[in-house]
Amino acid sequence: MTAAHSDPIHSQSDHIRRAVSDRAKRPLTVKVMDWVRDRPEGGIAVMFVLVQLCCIIGALLFPESFRYLLPANLSVLLKSIAVPGIMALGVGVLMVAGEYDLSVGAVYSLLSIVCANLANAMLGDIGMDPHSALAPFAAMAVALTLGVAIGLLHAFVTLRFNIPSFITTLGGMLLWKGTTLLVHGASALRFKPTEPFATLFGGGLGIIHASMIWFLAFALLFYFLLHHHRLGNHFYAVGGNRNAAVAIGINPNRTKAIAFAIAGFMAALSGVIAATRVGSIQPGGGLGMELQTIAACVIGGFALNGGRGSILGIVLGTALVFTIQDVLLLLRAPAFYFDMFVGALIVIAVVMNTAIRRGRA
């Protein structure tokens, strides 16, 4: 800018600077209130805190009948959050980039079976003599690589032929489910890996299972990737407005392909970690997880058409869904109540987010 116009510039910039520093000086309560209202995951954060408070108060009032706070229950609860949470991280990143993956459940089953079979073939079972400490790691590396490859295949078909990823990955879901039955059949498969693999992915610290530690570690990693890395910024851009991203020089196909690869990787990882935790694999075990993880993301504030969502939203969404499952189990409610609650929760979360957004727009 030239000297002739420099005065108003500074007043304008100073005005913004002043407003920014004023906002930084808001009292903490106001900041929290504003955060809840401004962030897509704000509503769900409030709901999560309320549900936890109710559970804790209930457990304190009726310690005999509602055993929420018993370490055994907390341990089960954390375990139940971890595996779908790991999968949801990948699903969520892909949703931010404006695409879906309906095949993650099938990929989870297929690649955990591939991992177990490979590990067992390489003497990676703890019961074998002699056994190999490295075998499970090698098998896992293959499974994770295949996860990335499957994600890239979905990306290629979706982007090359310009079709909705909903269709590509719906096809993928059936394809990989069929592949699982083809290569393995419908019987359960033993997976008792050797040390140190077993401890690394199946051990734990007190009531915190290793899978939960992995979930939190990946959540932290993805937080930095999605919210602070250039690549994450590009995920939001291609998901939020593909044409604008192109106009500004971002390659949408490359960016989306990376997101598909991440979803495939995380599906494979969650499969291997679940198999290690349980010690055996049911070929149909991943069934329904694709919708559960999408539900968790939507509950956590993700937009179905992309460009909106956060890692905190994934963590809170998953945690809320499985807290409800845990409470229903504690109350000995039949399993179908879980589906009913999650169904209602999805609709409520979206209605709430839309209402908040409309109120601000």
Binding site: H5, Q12, H229, A237, G240, N243, A244, R308
Partner: protein, 267 residues
């Protein structure tokens, strides 16, 4: 038809449609015999167009004339079906945004090209994030620069939070953010496709004054507008388009607002 004095050669539009004025010195940017087809529809037909040094070109014409198509072609996101492009006299392929960025071209698109779900700061730095060597963004520095450039070019009313989502801004505020972004990163050529359609009178005056300043600093511009008074305030040359071809071209000193108006209306 106008008769041009030296050093410009006569346009001869009747004989060679789309030929127009021939540049006297090597232009910053030139397109020759450009065609653009969308399926069977021809959006640009044998178009010649150039941008000189220290020049503001007014690109005029009715809706659907092909102005935005031309602008998007210069900015690389809409490559030509056939024809040649020269940058500084050198034959150049400009087929995507990276090519045009290398040529120092910035664009304010008519359809804004902002991501509604992202903040003002993130939109301004989209694709050009300030990052450390591992690719992590420096949010503090980006915010500070964003605040600085929001204060330049147009004095945007009512923006006081660079973290605000663009989707919650008014039309004029969005346009102002798009302007601020292009203005900050411009080097050789700034393309403005109907940039003032949502701006207030004060903001418009400010932007036009800014375009004049830019010329003095060595950045040429192309201004697409329906407002001939704005065009006459800042432009050195006028190009009128109709149905994908150039129908009139004249330097400001060789024409009048009435004549240009006449060509825009008649064709």
């Amino acid at each position: 038809m106008t008769v041009h004095t030296e050093p410009l050669r006569p346009a001869g539009l009747a004989g060679h449609p789309g030929a127009g004025l021939v540049p006297t010195e090597t232009p910053l940017y030139e397109m020759r015999n450009i065609c653009k087809r969308y399926g069977s529809f021809t959006a640009l037909d044998n178009m010649n167009f150039h941008i000189g040094r220290n020049e503001v070109v007014g690109l005029l014409g009715d809706n659907g004339a092909g102005k935005s198509t031309l602008v998007k072609m210069i900015s690389g996101i809409n490559p030509p079906t056939s024809g040649e492009i020269y940058v500084n006299g050198k034959r150049t392929e400009i087929r995507n945004r990276s090519d045009s960025e290398a040529a120092g071209i910035e664009t304010i698109y008519q359809d804004i090209a902002l991501v509604d779900s992202m903040s003002i700061t993130r939109n301004i730095f989209l694709g050009r994030e300030l990052v450390n060597r591992w690719g992590f963004m420096d949010h503090r520095r980006m915010q500070e620069v964003a605040i600085q450039i929001l204060g330049s070019a147009v004095q945007i009313s009512g923006i006081d939070n660079p973290d605000k989502e663009v989707g919650f801004l008014s039309g004029g505020q969005k346009q102002a953010v798009a302007i601020a972004r292009a203005v900050h990163f411009k080097r050789n050529i700034l393309l403005l496709d109907e940039p003032t359609s949502a701006l207030s009178v004060r903001e418009t005056e400010h932007l036009l004054a800014y375009v004049r300043d830019l010329k003095r600093e060595g950045t040429s511009s192309v201004l697409v507008t329906h407002n001939l008074y704005h065009a006459f305030q800042v432009c050195d040359r006028f190009v009128v388009m109709s149905h994908g071809t150039k129908v009139f071209e004249a330097r400001k000193e060789d024409t009048t607002i009435e004549e240009v108006t006449d060509h825009v209306i008649r064709t």
